[in-house]
Amino acid sequence: MRLLHPENVEDIALGAAVLGTGGGGDPYIGKLMGISAISEFGPVTLLSLDEMDDDALIVPTAMMGAPTVMLEKLPKGDEIIKAFHALESYLGKKITATMSAEAGGLNSVTPLTVAARLRIPMVDCDGMGRAFPELQMVTATLYGVSSTPFAIGDEKGNSAILNTINNRWTETFSRSITVDMGCAAMIACYATTGKDLKQWAVPGTISIVENIGRTIREARRAKANVVEAVKGAVGGFEIFQGKIVDVRRRTEKGFARGEAVIEGVDEYGSQKLELHFQNENLVAKVDGEIMVSVPDLITVLDTETGEPITTESLRYGFRVTVLGIPCNEKWRTPEGLELVGPRYFGYDIDWVPVEETYG
């Protein structure tokens, strides 16, 4: 058990961009909200997974919709509390803790507001170990945990409860409701007991992103090599270093898809890396050969500053280092790969563990 203060939140938001693998939304607004909630209500208690009682009731909370919209229509602040309470009264049980659904991007810090305001602990884990674009893409789905009853709330005070036959349907319905709510809504779902959570959650991920953020901050202060520091902190492999020479983009089915071509420098001198993205970075090929693919993490860092680069800001001329990071083992099963493997995203390729290529 430990306490999260505003400075911890800064580090978490910074590190979450690394696990955001180019997507997941800018954590800036979530960070400001988390910091202001902690300043007003006091620090948030972070509990490790094994500190949870088996009969505890934990509910992940998250933002759903377009991060671009949330930068404009800032939250009221209590919509997430409303969603949380709606679920609690539907369940007829007291919820003991909240957690992050995804440790990558803005939802790493979204639950801080709930935890601070309701003075409940946040659990040091998440349901992805990275960022993914759809609601059913959490490890809970692999363990048969239902996303419903699912609560969604907006700033006007509206809330809805969904019951569905599977988590894909929850994604479908909640996406429509989110659009009606103005493309930015707060959700509470995947209610789970402490016992079950220990089975399905990706453990320790809040501490991991915080550690990444702290490492970046300290490396910057010491004027050390930030990329090297990040590599150490994430336990990943450097798969490429070079310069972006081409970026192609198109919009398909509401997703910003595209490819970036990176020309190697130094030891990668004669090689080319092709990066495929769909909001997040999904596949990296070097000279036509697949080196890393989803669900393993592909993170692009500015070689000079160590700043994680989002897929929206990939641009010709950037000097970048590409890291491959092994995903959580839960994704590495046939069921996991069916849910979030390359084929789900439309790439007809087999997933190869990043450490087999680089380890």
Binding site: S36, G65, T68, P75, G77, G182, C183, K243, T251, S313
Partner: protein, 512 residues
Amino acid sequence: MRIGVDVGGTNTDAVLMDGNRVVGWHKTPTTPDVTSGITSAMKTVLQETKVPATQIKAVMIGTTHFTNAVVERKRLMQTAAVRLGLPATESLPPMVDWPPDLRDTIGNHKYLVHGGHEFDGREISPLDESELRDVAKDIKSKGIRAVAISAVFSPVNSSFEERAAEIIQNEIPDASLSLSHEIGRMGLLERENAAILNACLGDLAKTIVESFRKALKDMKIDAPFYLSQNDGTLMGADFAEKYPVLTFASGPTNSMRGAAFLSGAKDAMVVDLGGTTSDVGMLLRGFPREASVAVEISGVRTNFRMPDVYSFGLGGGSIVSQEPVKIGPQSVGYELTTRGLVFGGSVLTATDLAVAGGLADIGDSAAVKHLDPAFVRAALDEIQTMVETAVDRMKTSAEPVPLILVGGGTILVSRQIKGASEMVRPEHFPVANAIGAAIAQVGGETDRVFALAELGREEALRQARQEATDKAVAAGAKEETITIVDVEEVPLAYLPSNAVRIRVKAVGDLAL
């Protein structure tokens, strides 16, 4: 004839132009009050060229007055920030992410009221006129005369900001109002921040405009004057009083615009080599490419149209160390002419390397005779690499582009830069910035979200072009000269309804 003036960190430059011809120019040190440097540069250029003041038809000034005021936290007004968005946005009130000292300087007066729109134009909640009148009365009772008004998604629908402005103006007739949709872009906090910065500069803007007016009168110049904006266009004195914040970062923009004019290139890379730092920017259709991410001004995040400039620590005054070879980022800056070796000083600078390498003939070349030629070569190679890396970073494709070198530090670069199809050192390159001010046009811009599902792409683009053109005319452009210089479409991620953010910029010649 026109006079263009640009205020830099080290020098204030003035140039006198007859049509497209440079008649004369003058450089003078920038003064702490800024204005006296401007008038001194203008007076000198008129004296040296012997052109009578009556010949001057327009004066264009790129100034740092307003940036300096924010940085120094001086001469800023008490400002009220009124945001229409309730029940949304309550968690993060105006100025939430500001440096506390700046927030306190302008009083931290903030008001949240109902209103605002959704991304697709629906109302979040109706505008509450009596609520706004109460807010206006409270602002008035505190004696505040500067008000910034923001509304959620005002770039999509600005009607609530406009109605709120009428109500507040009605209650406080002498208030100066800054509307966020007229200044910033998508991103509420950043746009609102830009509007608040603009509002708190209101009194200073009036003072500065008045002081320029007086200075011109003293010089017997009977001509309109304009201020340079950061997008490379001009604003008249009346407009400048209302939108001082749009002068931020006009310096790098003026240099790039001047480079475009002097070289005749429309699409090119510009390297402005200064005394301490150098700026690289990309010209697209004659205008600087604009930054697409939030730009911090003295600790405040803003998102209005700033030039996308990459600055790096290389300039004529950069201090050179020998083991290992390293150039900058420390610099002797404006003391180059006393501290550099060729000027009799004791600090080895980049300018000394240029003299030792035979690239320039400045000062006393005997003072650098002792330098090892191998070291000089290595150090000049390093300078070359620094410029090449910076240029490449700003390029948008692998295609070679023309490269224009301007600024006093151009002597540092001798060889062809990799990735450049040609290298141009135009005539009058030391005052490209003032020339950029003198030749500027006027423009209009629109930037908002369109729902393509309803409008279709062609109609959305047509509307955006028309809005930009209308704004350019309103700003003083001759309608028949207006051209669309920039169209950008950005699909919004994770948004299923095919919404696209479209930004269009139109410019035209000044109707004199």
